[in-house]
Amino acid sequence: MKLTVDKINKSYGNHTVLNNVSFTMDNGVYGLLGSNGAGKTTLINIIVRLIGQDSGAIICDDVDVTKLGGEYFNRIGYLPQYPRLYKNFTAVEFLKYMSELKGLKKSESSSRIDELLELVNLTADKDKKIGAFSGGMRQRLGIAQAMLNDPKLLILDEPTAGLDPRERIRFRNILSALSADRIVLIATHIVSDIEHIAKNVILIGNGNVLCQSTPEKLINEMKGRVYECVVPIEDMQSCMSKYCISNAVLEQDGYHLRIVGENYPENAVPCDTPTLEDAFLMYSGEKIL
């Protein structure tokens, strides 16, 4: 499957949320990375057709999705931000309900539900009420519902928000397993969510696509752009306003800073292990104050 986002524009009044956004995806995990308010959720909502764009098109296998009608929804699976689902349903009931909405045949839905519960490790909890689920269990159930129709495009909006580290790792592994024969688009502002599983990263800021590349390439591009230095405690405040600091650790000899960009102190030395987080900071041009 191939999905093209073609020159999408979206404004609310005078505020431009998306400005000529274009990129193409085929099978694999894609990370849509951007800070809060960058336009990720708006773009996702346009891709899943929850809202309409002002101009531009979403093209699925060379066909404009508006021409695909209901058939398009057969091809997508979607997990929105912070879904709380129905508290008075059990996991199985919820998946049965969603299978009905997705138009699955009764004969195929039962086995599919069992299969997905196994995949997201909820088989033992399938008869528990969703109200008793932890945030991570709810997210995993959310993934299961998104996968019910075996979608070729799986879209997840901030899927790891509110999860503890263990749940986050578990979630990442599930996504990795699902990405072999479909597009998985993960919108997030947490770099570590996609750093190790995304084949491609789309950096978005202020409604524009800042760059689209593989994580390796982005990290390589950062070589010679990341520096480390130690500054006295009293100089920390001025450094924060001058440089783009990606990390600061207080130790006995002062603050150990990690600085991204062309602007760095004289005593700084180049760092030879840049990260995707450094690239994110570099492209988004944000200073951490």
């Binding site: 809202i51 309409g52 929804f73 931000q81 009931e93």
Partner: protein
């Protein structure tokens, strides 16, 4: 069909609703027990009540000469005992209840009850004679509408008779109890106020909208589920009320005509009490469904459940006040017929022979209200589906 079940479960199977159902049922049973005891003759005197119950058991059913003789004999016997000076102290050796006056009161009640039933046909004939006189009068004055009205009245009352005697306090108490309708209204308010708004709050709307069936997949099942909830609530409270009255007073004579009940003597309908129980429950379902469609529509337009709940409770209070004003304000205005709440208390309308003019034709208020109620139900069903679709399009365009 399965999705209707899920919609039903989603809206109805909430802990708060189940708790409310139990609490409201207990309150309903308590109030009905208190009210129903007021309807029961001699409820304040155990021995008199027992005597009345025993005698009713003896004479209930088809009226025979033997039963009539028994009541008249006992009535005369106890009447003779209290003529002139009589013994007023407690004495069980010379009386049934311990008091001569109480004995007389019991048989007097029984006598007037059986007399009313026995003479029902005769009294109705008198009413028909009066109606015929009116027809003659209005024919002479050329008032065709009034002539038609009295002709219709005669066709309703003609041939009426009551063959069987049963005590009536149970059904009188049952039909006089409207509190369970109010509870059903409150329950539906709690169940459906969040039908759409709570889904938006928990992020389910976007999952539904991005499914193959989309919003169209849930509109009709959700409306069908709300009808099921209304039917369930009405059936539940009807059964609770029937069971309560059956225990406190007893419900006798289900197959007797409705007009055998004292307060329905001049009712416009000729079916049995049992039929009226079923019909009034069905009309309550129709009325409750109409209200539920309004609640769902408001929920689909509301940004939050709190807003939806506030708007809906305001709507229900207004409908109740409007219905009260129309019912007790002296004359029944036609616009009140469009109020779905009026279907909850339709048994009051059926008590008397009242008519309304529709396109020059005179029809009974009872029939008119049923027809209008069904039209309002159908209209709100379609209208709420339209509103739900409209509100989903609003989401689609991203204006919310």
């Amino acid at each position: 069909m399965k999705i209707v079940f899920f919609e039903f479960k989603k809206m109805m199977f909430k802990p708060i609703l189940l708790i409310l159902l139990v609490v409201f049922s207990v309150i309903d049973v308590y109030l009905l027990t208190v009210n129903a005891r007021d309807y029961a003759p001699f409820s304040s005197m155990e021995s008199a009540e027992k005597l009345y119950n025993d005698c009713c058991e003896k004479v209930e059913g088809k009226i025979t000469n033997e039963k009539i003789s028994f009541v008249i004999d006992k009535y005369n016997e106890t009447a003779a005992k209290i003529s002139g000076d009589f013994y007023t102290d407690y004495d069980t050796s010379n009386s049934y209840t311990g008091y001569l006056q109480s004995d007389f009161n019991v048989f007097s009640e029984l006598y007037s009850g059986i007399k009313r039933v026995y003479q029902y046909s005769e009294n109705t004939e008198k009413a028909i004679e009066k109606a015929k006189e009116n027809i003659e009068f209005f024919s002479e004055s050329g008032n065709a509408a009034q002539v038609k009205k009295y002709e219709d009245m005669i066709s309703v009352y003609e041939g009426r008779k009551v063959d069987s005697f049963y005590r009536t306090d149970g059904f009188e108490a049952y039909f006089g109890h409207n509190f369970s309708s109010l509870i059903a209204l409150l329950m539906i308010l709690f169940a459906l106020s969040g039908a759409f708004s709570s889904e938006r709050e928990i992020g389910m709307t976007s999952l539904i909208f991005t499914s193959k069936r989309g919003v169209n997949g849930i509109i009709w099942p959700r409306l069908a589920a709300s009808v099921l909830i209304c039917a369930f609530l009405v059936a539940w409270f009807t059964l609770v009320d029937i069971a309560t009255v059956a225990v406190t007073n007893g419900l006798y004579g289900w197959e007797n005509p409705l007009y055998s009940l004292p307060s329905y003597t001049y009712t416009t309908v000729n079916y049995s009490i049992g039929t009226h129980v079923i019909l009034s429950a069905l009309l309550k379902v129709v009325g409750l469904c109409s209200v539920s469609f309004c609640i769902i529509s408001i929920s689909s337009l509301s940004p939050s459940t709190l807003v939806s709940f506030s708007a809906n409770i305001t709507l229900i209070i207004m409908l109740i006040l409007f219905d009260d004003r129309a019912r007790f304000g002296g004359s029944k205005v036609l616009s009140a017929f469009f109020n779905p709440i009026s279907l909850f208390t339709l048994q009051d309308v059926s008590k008397l022979y009242t008519t309304v003019e529709v396109f020059g034709q005179s029809i009974t208020s009872f029939a008119a209200e049923i027809c209008v109620g069904l039209v309002v139900f159908a209209f709100l069903f379609v209208f709420s589906a339209f509103i739900m679709r409209l509100s989903s399009r609003k989401v689609w365009r991203g204006t919310r």
